[in-house]
């Protein structure tokens, strides 16, 4: 089973989700991310979902979990690149993504992570 690659960018980790997510893949990502955050002492995690044409309740919860787990490990998370149709669907689905910070694109996401890291 392929795993989603995690790239190191300075003090942040970058995850670009480009494939269709299923349960096993999502759990593997959570595990891998937790390990890498600790390994690299990352201050922040940027998850790029600009390639995702669909986010269901499971994916939403997974993103929420990643944000919570990262915070416990002292890293902030920002999810970027949500497509408009995905956002509209999530609103109607009624999924609350409270606790998950979002930004429009990678550039803005990194800016947010820098701000957050600076404040600590």
């Amino acid at each position: 089973m392929e795993r989603i690659p995690i790239l190191k960018m300075g003090e942040f980790l970058l995850v670009s989700i480009q494939v269709d997510m299923h349960d096993r893949l999502a759990l593997a990502l959570q595990e891998d991310l937790s390990d890498r955050i600790v390994e690299t002492h990352a201050r922040g995690v940027l998850i790029d979902i600009s390639s995702l044409e669909m986010v269901d309740s499971f994916m939403g919860r997974m993103l929420g979990n990643i944000a919570s787990i990262s915070r416990v490990l002292d890293a902030e998370t920002v999810v970027v690149g949500m497509q408009p149709s995905v956002a509209i669907t999530l609103v109607e689905l009624g999924l609350s993504m409270a606790g998950v910070r979002t930004a429009l694109n990678v550039e803005q996401g990194i800016s947010v992570l820098h701000d957050l890291a600076r404040r600590k």
Binding site: H22, D23, E53, D56, S85, V86, L93
Partner: protein, 134 residues
């Protein structure tokens, strides 16, 4: 615009992926706008996962409908699992089964035009959703 109904097996979590792709393909062919497509694909994903995780596996059936000038996509997901004892409760948002995560049924219902569910404890569950193109 006759299209033969398509069956898909849902045995393992990975099987949700081909289901999503098939629903997307059908929705595109039926001329659904991007948002409508995404809604039905998302609803399909919720139902598919339920069948695998809570229903012990099942099947999905895709059909194209035509009524007046409207085109519709119907998805029926069935499983022979333990069934849902209290459907009302299950449809409530945030409902959690033991050891599992919320069923997402309530959410799926909001995304489609028609929603039907039949469930008998001990026998299984069948959920039928239909989305009409605007």
């Amino acid at each position: 615009m006759a299209r033969t109904p398509e069956w898909l097996e849902l045995r393992a979590p990975e099987d949700v992926v081909p289901l999503r792709r098939a629903v997307r393909r059908w929705a595109v062919e039926l001329g659904f706008g991007l948002v409508d497509q995404t809604k039905i694909v998302t609803a399909a994903s919720e139902l598919g996962r339920n069948a695998v995780l809570h229903g012990g596996g099942g099947r999905a059936l895709l059909e194209a409908l035509q009524e007046g000038g409207l085109r519709g996509l119907r998805l029926t997901v069935t499983d022979q699992g333990p069934g849902i004892a209290d459907v009302e409760l299950a449809m409530r948002d945030g409902y959690t089964t033991v050891g599992g995560l919320g069923l997402g049924l309530g959410g799926a219902r909001r995304l489609v035009s028609e929603f039907e569910i039949e469930s008998t404890p001990g026998k299984g569950t069948r959920v039928t959703i239909t989305r009409w193109s605007a």
